[in-house]
Each structure stands twice: as C-alpha cells, then as structure tokens.
C-alpha cells in the first residue's frame, strides 16, 4: 500500500493525460483485480524489489519455516534430557548438549517458536495500541491531547529495560502472556508518537477537510480517510516493534524473569550463563541462540528498508538518487 500523495513520481505522473484534449479520459488501467488487492500485491512487489528487504524476507521465511516445522526438523524433543551432559558437538548432537543433558540443536529449533510468537504477537499488539493512541491523539485538539502527550512522554523517558524488569518482577506471573504484556506496555509509545505526527500532517490535508464537509464523523475520518494513508508507516512500525519485542523477550528471559522452564533462545542463554558454558568451552551454547536472535532481528530490520520504499519512492533502490 503506498501513499501516492507524498511524492510525485520522477517520471511526472501528470503526463498521463494529454493536456490538449480537455478532460480526455486517460487510458483505462487494467482492472482485473479489485483495487485493494492490486494495491497489496503492488506493495509486496515493491518490498520484494529491494535487495535488502528480499534478503530479510528470505531469512525471516527460513525462521518461520523452522518454527512451524520444528517437530519435524528437530532430532529430539526440546526438553528431553537423557543425553550425556555438557557434551561437545558430535554426529548425534551437531551443536552438543547442555549441562542438563538436552540437545542444543533441538532447543534452538524449538526456541524459534517462542521468539517468533512473542515478536509477532507483542509487535502486533503494541502497534495496535500505537495506532489507536497515535491517531486519536493526532486528530483531536485541546486538553485531552495534552494529557495523552504527558502519558506518552512519560513512557518515552522511562528507560525501557529497568521498567520491564520492575513490572515483570512485580507481576510474578512468569508466563509468556506476562512477557507480551510487559513488552507491549513499554513499547507502544514510540510508534504512537510517530503516527501522531503523521496524523497531524494528514489532518490538514484538503481531503480530510473535504471528508468533514461530507458529514463524516470523526472516527470515520480517522480510520477510513487518514489511516489507510499511513499503512506503510504502520507496517514499518510493526516490524520495528516486533524487533524490539524479540530482543526484549530474550533479555527478560536471559535475566531469568521469564518462565525458565520454557525453551526459548533467551532461556537457553540464561541456562548457558548459569552453567558457565563459556568457562567449560561450550561456546556453541551461547553462540547459537545469540546468533539466531541477532539474525531474526536483523531480518526484520532489513524488511523495513523495503517498507520505507513504499511510502517514499526516492528510497527505492535503483531509482538513481
């Protein structure tokens, strides 16, 4: 989905109609697919056309596949602990085993599920909160906006990780839902601010005023006129939030604030740290989950390069600028 209003094509989109013939109809564009789908496929095409984004999508697809097919790919169960303890890499255990006697490869494979789940669910939820807050905050004027401004700034200035630790420690319910809740609570503010400023700039556009003249109610102006024009920013905000969520989940788990019996990349790092894996020479135990976290986060950031190109044609690769 693009925002065609932002920048004109360098090719000069005005040239599409012959100026000489008054009101001559421009040639019909193919109308095979309904407009909405065409927009989606064209957007996907733009993201795919970006080399970085393509690499990101491939890496992301790899992790999604691993997560979905985990039971098929993993040689053993993630919590099966009847192997030799702290063994090095071997044919039976390519990444070795943990101090508790679990297969590291299987844990990495199953760990992808938690990271992706938390990443996408927490990313989606915090984007949802950011959209609701950002759009209404950007659209209304007056004292309410000031209140929202204060609350958002509060969440922006409080350092994220300490806040997360405090909330997680306070809640003491160390399930995945708690982690998602904490990540959403600390992660929505940035997106809300970005979306608010975009809403404010769109609010002054003629088509928004025109919608008000058409008798549209406020919520309809916000969600049917303004929101669709911000799709690319929302998408990019989602990928950013998902990246942050994946890293936050790993961090919380690594600190032992998550459910330490769950197998995730963060808890793997937690247990590896607990068993002094580095001192015993089992660096794979730290490297494998760490690298996976880094790769997954990188892939999402790479996808964002392509998403940027949706809203700003000048950022598209090969546009020669």
């Amino acid at each position: 989905m693009t925002t065609p209003t932002t920048l004109p094509d360098p090719g000069g989109s005005e040239s599409e109609h012959p100026a000489g013939a008054p009101d001559a109809a421009p040639p019909d564009l193919p109308t095979a697919a309904p407009p909405r789908w065409r927009v989606v496929t064209r957007g996907a095409g733009t993201v795919w056309a970006n080399r970085k984004a393509r690499l990101g999508l491939l890496v992301l697809a790899f992790f999604v596949l691993v997560a979905v097919l985990a039971p098929v790919i993993a040689p053993y169960g993630p919590t099966a602990n009847d192997f030799a303890r702290g063994a090095g890499p071997s044919a039976a255990h390519p990444f070795g085993t943990t101090a508790a006697g679990e297969d590291v490869l299987s844990q990495v494979v199953f760990g992808a599920r938690i990271s992706l789940l938390v990443g996408f669910v927490a990313g989606a939820l915090s984007t949802l909160v950011a959209v609701l807050v950002g759009l209404s905050w950007g659209y209304v004027r007056g004292p309410l906006a000031e209140v929202v401004n204060f609350v958002t700034n509060l969440f922006l200035v409080i350092p994220g990780l300490p806040l997360m630790i405090v909330i997680a420690a306070y809640l003491q319910n160390s399930g995945l839902d708690m982690i998602i809740f904490v990540v959403v609570l600390t992660g929505w503010a940035w997106g809300a601010r970005v979306l608010r400023s975009q809403t404010q700039s769109l609010r002054g556009r003629d088509f928004v005023t025109a919608a008000q003249f058409s008798g549209e109610r406020s919520w309809r102006v916000v969600f049917r006129e303004i929101l669709p024009n911000m799709t690319s920013i929302i998408a990019s905000s989602f990928f950013g939030a998902a990246t942050a969520a994946i890293i936050a989940e790993s961090g919380l788990s690594f600190l032992g604030l998550g459910d330490t019996t769950q197998v995730s990349w963060g808890t793997m790092l937690f247990w590896a740290q607990n068993s002094n894996a580095l001192l015993t020479g089992q660096w794979v135990l730290l490297l494998a989950p760490g690298l996976c976290i880094a790769l997954l986060a990188t892939s999402l950031s790479l996808v964002n390069f392509g998403v940027d190109g949706l809203s700003n044609p000048r950022l598209r690769e090969g546009s020669g600028r």
Binding site: T5, G12, H17, A19, G20, P22, D23, F213, P228, G320
Partner: protein, 566 residues
C-alpha cells in the same frame, strides 16, 4: 553561429517500475545570441524536461535517447563533470520554479554570493562584496538583503535573489523554468518586469519556460509552443498573437481575454456583463431567468449569507511580533442565487473569509449568518447541519480527493450522511451526480481511483461531492487555479451552469480577474483584510476606482500587450 543549437532531441523517462514515457520527441531549434524566447506548454508537454536537458540537469530515469545539444558549438552531452562545473560560469544557468527554496536557510544571502564567487574565482576577492551589491541592485533589491537570512525574505525577494545568483555566473544563456508560477499575482508581475529589464540591459540569451502563454507573449520576442513533446509552433511573438498557425496555439490563445473589455468571452462560457449599470435586476430574477425549462434536482437557495463587521486576528507568529489581522471589519451579503467574486492577492484575507462562512474558523469579532443560523456560534453538530447547506470546492483537486478511495466511495459518503438514502438509492444518486458534472460514462467513472483521472476530471468529482448534499451555497476557493488553461473554461462553465440550473448561490474566491468577470455578477475586492471596492463585476472591472484594483487588473497577463512591448 547560434548560441544554442538543438538537433532532433528526444528525451525519455525510463523508470524501472513503469512504462517508458517519451517526454520530448525530435525537437530541433536554435537560439541566437541575445534572443528572448518563450517555451509554452501545459503540464506534461515536456517543456521542463527539455529545459533540464539543455542545462544538463536531467536526472535518471530521464535520458536523452537521441539528438544533440550544441552550446556555442560544443556538444553539451559530451562534457565531463568538471568541465560542466567550470562552464556553469559564462555558460548556461537556470532559475527554477522553486528557486526561492533553493537557498540555504542557515547562511545569509551574502554567503551565497561568496560561495559562487569562490567556486569559480572569476571575481577578485576584494571586489566580491561590491559585485554582490551590484547584482542585488540589478534585481531591484536593497543591498541590506546581503546580510539577511533567506527565511527573513518574502517569496518574491528570494526568487529575485536566486536570479541574481544565476547572474553572478555571467551566463550567456539563462533558462527560466516557471520563475514566477509559485508567486503571488502582483509579485509575479513585478518579477517578470525585472526579468524583462535585465534581459534587455545585460543582453544575455534567455529561454522562458511557462505554462502561461499570456506571460510569455508579454515578455519574449519569439515563442515556441510545445504539445505532447513536440514543438508545434515556433514563430515571433507578434505573429503568434496575430496569426497562430497550429490549432493548439489557437486554442490556448482563445482562453485569454481582457477583464476590462466591454464583452468578455471564453470558449464555452457565454458573454456576460456587457450591459451597463441598472439593467441587471435582482439576483433572484436573474437566476430564475437562467434556470430556463429544466428545474434542477436541488432546492433553490433561500438563505442569504450575511457577514457583518467581521474581524479575524491570529495570534502573533513569533513571540514579540504583532498579532496578524487577517480580516478587519468586513461586511458583505450574498443573496440567494447570486454569484459573488472575492478577489485579492494572497494575504488579502479572502480565504479567511471563506473559512468563516463555512464555519472552519470563528471570527474574533462580528457575526456571520447563513439564513437564520449564526455560523460563528455553531458547535460540532450544528456545523454538520450547516454543511448540508454550505459546501466547498477546493483549490487543489490533487489534494482534495483521498488517493485510496474510488470516486463512488467519495461521492457515496455525503449522499448517505446528508440524505439518509439506502445504499442502492445512494448509488443511483451518485451516478446522477456524475452525470450532472459531465463525467460519462458514469459507471466507468464511478469505479475509478483519483490517480486515473486528469486534473479537470478530478475537479469535477470535487464539484460533484459538493453537490451531493443539495447545498444552497457553494464556496469555490480558486477552483481552477491548479488546472491547465485549456481545462479551466470547462470547469468554470460547469460551475456557472450549476448556479443557473440549481439556483445555488456561489462565492467564487480568486485572484484571477478574468475568470471572475465571466462567472460572477458581483465582486468584492479585498486588500489587507479590508474591502476596498465592491459592486457589479463588470462595472468594477471596467471602471475600477481603487488603485489596488487597478494594480490587480494590470497584473493579468495579456497577450495583446505584447504588441506594445515587442
């Protein structure tokens, strides 16, 4: 030898994700030394593409596909980057439409001149300050601007600075690309005057690119008309004016006229206002006459718009500055079925007055009422009700339509909101509206997205949307200023038709006196927030009393004036 020789030049746009566009096709012409030549065309005609190609400023995806450009005998395309940079002095320079935004906001005007002199080293260090003063005086600015920052200058002053900067390079060829289009009418007139004088005194060769044939004919000695990438006419200005050869040029010329003339006629618009003083009768009678046999679907306007003693003061833009008075004690009355022009240069307060009448802003003092509704006291629900009766046509058809909604969606919303029809009835009404504004076949247009429509078609959709609630009053804010000349008459004729057929009252806001003359009966001239002149349009424009009105009239580009100039 000619200064510039263009041989069979073709330029194509080759974007990676769209089909190839042939912007310039096989164009050949020459510019002699000291000539002032105009290049005219409407949007998409390729005139700017050509200008960029001449000065080697083309960027991908634009590419010169064939032909040669010889400047002073040397092929421009073959120049190395450094050679190109070096020859920017004493070679060719370009002044852009957005030239006023081309200045670095954190450096003073004087710094800009220093940079130019330093980059080319053609002025000895000790002479630079004096030379800069000399240059700004040439463009009729005070030498004190050298110490000021671009943000402290007005748009017209900045455009003058960028012209002076181009002059600093002592170019043999100056390309002006729409140098005044982004400026206010009066400023535009003054800047064009400066350019003309400069060209005459400095003797450089100039190419003036513009969409406005009137402006070009007034200034230049030879005119090239471009249409769809091809130069269709290339002749001395006087010949173009007296005896245009190409149909396209004839069409362009037909859209000019003198608002002061006794009878003004534009294609598609009937002559109006020839009669003198008292013959017009009341506005109600007029609209009754105009409606003829076909009564429109809408209600006739019954509510007058009454504005009394209205002032609007905005808070100061910066701390310490004085508050801005947009309107100062303005009173006016728009009778049912009447059409009233609101004219003035930018900053005269005409748009503020429109915003007051539509309830977008509230007055600081005074009252605004539509019928018996006090607009200045309305709250949200009341405003919704008001907009059933008072609708708006926006200036920029490219910004007034949501790019993601189909025409049908855009039109369905007001129909549903204001008339409470069911979905099927609404669709019928939408198709009827499209038919009213002349977008047929209606079914096809209903399914289109804004980017599939031309500017004129978009403006028709905007007008259809304004009609959807059966309004009594339409406020049209410069409805044709963003449109190509050839599309303007059509849109104006449509507005005029609607007024006559549906009996709506119209407030027509514009800086273009010619269009005011052809579509309105009464006129209100605003200057610095005050009404300086009012009366019947034909009277006021033919026999203006206030000096400001005279100034506005003088600023209207008139091809016929070229006869005297050339």
């Amino acid at each position: 030898m000619s200064l510039l020789e263009v041989q069979d030049l073709s330029v194509v746009y080759e974007p990676s994700d769209a089909p190839v566009t042939h912007a310039v096709r096989d164009v050949s012409f020459t510019l002699e030394r000291g000539e002032f030549v105009g290049l005219v065309g409407e949007s998409g005609s390729g005139k700017s593409t050509l200008g960029f190609a001449l000065t080697r400023l083309s960027k991908p995806p634009a590419r010169i596909s064939s032909g040669r450009i010889l400047f002073d005998g040397a092929d421009v395309a073959a120049l190395e980057d450094e050679e190109l940079r070096a020859q920017r002095r004493g070679g060719f320079a370009m002044v852009l439409q957005s030239g006023m935004n081309a200045l670095n906001p954190v450096r003073t005007v004087g710094h800009h001149f220093d940079d130019v002199f330093a980059a080319h080293g053609h002025v000895p260090r000790e002479r630079r300050a004096a030379r800069a003063r000399e240059l700004v005086e040439k463009v009729e600015l005070a030498p004190t601007v050298l110490g000021r920052y671009p943000g402290e200058l007005s748009g017209g002053m900045r455009q003058r600075v960028s012209i002076a900067l181009a002059l600093a390079l002592e170019p043999q060829l100056m390309v002006f690309d729409e140098p005044t289009t982004a400026l206010d009418v009066l400023v535009q007139h003054a800047v064009m005057g400066t350019i003309r004088e400069l060209q005459a005194s400095e003797g450089f060769t100039a190419l003036l690119i513009s969409h406005d044939l009137g402006v070009v004919l007034e200034s230049t000695s030879r005119v090239m008309v471009m249409h769809e990438g091809v130069v269709v006419e290339d002749a001395p200005s006087r010949d173009v004016l007296r005896d245009p050869q190409d149909d396209y040029t004839k069409m362009l010329l037909s859209h000019y006229g003198d608002p002061r003339a006794e009878v003004v006629e534009l294609p598609g618009l009937a002559a109006r206002g020839g009669e003198l003083v008292t013959s017009s009768g009341t506005a109600a009678e007029r609209s009754a006459r105009g409606s003829g046999g076909s009564p429109g679907a809408g209600r006739r306007a019954t509510a007058p718009v009454v504005v009394e003693g209205v002032s609007k003061v905005y808070p100061p833009p910066r701390r310490g500055a004085a508050p801005v008075t947009a309107l100062d004690d303005v009173s006016m009355r728009l009778e049912p079925g009447q059409s009233l022009a609101l004219v003035g240069a930018s900053g005269s307060g005409k748009s503020t007055l429109a915003q007051l009448i539509t309830g977008v802003v509230r007055p600081t003092a005074g009252t605004v009422s539509v019928g018996d509704v006090r607009v200045d006291r309305l709250r949200r629900r009341g405003l919704r009700e008001l907009r059933r009766d008072v609708q708006m046509v926006f200036q920029d058809p490219y910004a007034a339509l949501n790019p993601l909604h189909t025409v049908e969606y855009t039109l369905t919303r007001p129909v549903v909101n204001y008339t409470g029809r069911s979905r099927r009835e609404a669709r019928a009404r939408v198709l009827e509206l499209l038919d009213t504004v002349g977008l047929t076949p209606v079914e096809q247009f209903a399914a289109k997205l804004p980017h599939q429509l031309s500017g004129g078609q978009r403006q028709r959709v905007v007008i259809a949307r304004a009609l959807a609630s059966d309004p009594q009053i339409i406020v049209a804010d410069e409805p044709v200023s963003m449109l190509d000349v050839s599309l303007r008459a059509g849109v104006l004729a449509l507005l005029e038709d609607l007024r006559a057929q549906h009996g709506v009252s119209m407030l027509y806001i514009t800086h273009d006196l010619l269009s005011a003359r052809v579509v309105t009966d009464h006129i209100l001239v605003l200057h610095d927030g005050r009404v300086v002149e009012r009366g019947e349009t034909s009277q006021v424009l033919r026999f203006p009393q206030d000096p400001y009105t005279v100034e506005l009239l003088d600023a209207v580009p008139q091809p016929s004036r070229a006869e005297g100039a050339a």
